[in-house]
Symmetry: C2
Subunit: 218 residues, 2 copies
């Protein structure tokens, strides 16, 4: 399955995000990140992953911690990349009725994170998840479009997930049967499938090296 002519070096991937990256609510303890990484290993790629999703994290929180938490996990001399996925908690309503983090601020945080990350490693971005609450989800949809435009401007691959989630009856049922915000196995499997089929991710898994210098713009 790997491209011939490449020496497929072991990869180390950091996934930064919120509860949807953590896989909160998944009885299999895999989430979409674990499922996608298991699929990559089954496809023959030697991959180590670090799941750095934290429940409740906004773009502010991730901006504050991603560099510190990357340092020991992607040491020099090892191929690796960074995947980011946030925005749902930014869009949630805070105590004053406004979003916890404004859309302008979330986009500024995303740009600061992505530009700094791209200077060091190959980077991918996954869009924010809806949480099943109409006002928040309208903000998530708007934020997803703005993140898509930002990534386009930066020459970065972006995978929107909001429409996949909103179209899924299985997701909706699992959220209702769970804590009201997070799905279970079927929901996370849906995102893992979309991520695994994503050409930008497949290029990492099927390609040769993710060196410390960023890849050419796709």
């Amino acid at each position: 399955m790997l491209q011939s002519g490449h020496e497929a070096l072991p990869l180390r991937i950091c996934f930064f995000g919120d509860s949807m990256v953590n896989g909160t609510g998944d009885d299999t303890a895999l989430g979409w990140v674990g499922r996608a990484c298991a699929a990559a290993r089954r496809a023959g790629r030697d991959l180590t992953f670090y799941n750095l999703g934290i429940r409740g994290d906004t773009s502010e929180d991730i901006h504050a911690r991603w560099e510190y938490e990357t340092k020991g996990r992607l040491p020099p001399g090892h191929d690796g990349g960074l995947v980011f996925c946030f925005g749902a908690n930014d869009a949630c309503t805070g105590e004053d009725g406004a979003p916890r983090v404004s859309a302008d601020r979330a986009v500024a945080n995303a740009e600061a994170i992505l530009v700094a990350a791209m200077a060091r490693r190959p980077v991918l971005m996954v869009g924010p998840f809806p949480i099943g609450e109409p006002i928040t989800d309208a903000r998530v949809a708007a934020l997803s479009r703005r993140f898509a435009a930002l990534c386009d401007r930066l020459g970065l691959a972006f995978l929107p997930v909001i429409d996949i989630v909103l179209a899924s009856e299985a997701w909706r049922k699992e959220v209702a049967a769970g804590d009201g915000a997070h799905p279970n196995e079927q929901g996370y499997a849906l995102i893992a499938d979309a991520f695994t089929r994503w050409p930008a991710w497949r290029a990492w898994i099927e390609g040769g090296s993710l060196s410390e210098k960023p890849l050419e713009r796709a």
Copy 2:
């Protein structure tokens, strides 16, 4: 399966350690941590886990980062605990022929970590893993005994794993078929089973609350 009369609050658990905590080499992407947490959820406990194992980490590395990385993951107002497991990389031979971290220093690091952690949250400790190299493994065995004595003195539960690993033919075969140091599914399942049966862990999963104040000494 939960004790009657308890309101089983959702738990958040941080697992700090090295590649053996990360689950490096496991094609299922679960490791022993993911397997044990999935089993806890199947047993009816609502649990969120953070796998904070980093390849190559010694007790020095974990001492430097565990407080920072715990902060956002175990916020006030949420029940949670800390599980530590390290020592294999301390025992590995460094460039000068000596262990990367001396046994005395590793024990001092462990005490500093555990005492500070116990002041904030319930804590468990799992012993260091052997890596299949005789000189290192003799050091791991000695370190495991010293960590056990330390935990005994601190009133902390300690689960040694070295004998489980060394007695396992499946582990040895998976290490040989893999990268020479890490097992695959069967090896990690073996540790997950031992951890899941461990009374100290079962008390967390079957009990009621892991409050911010440490539990009584068992």
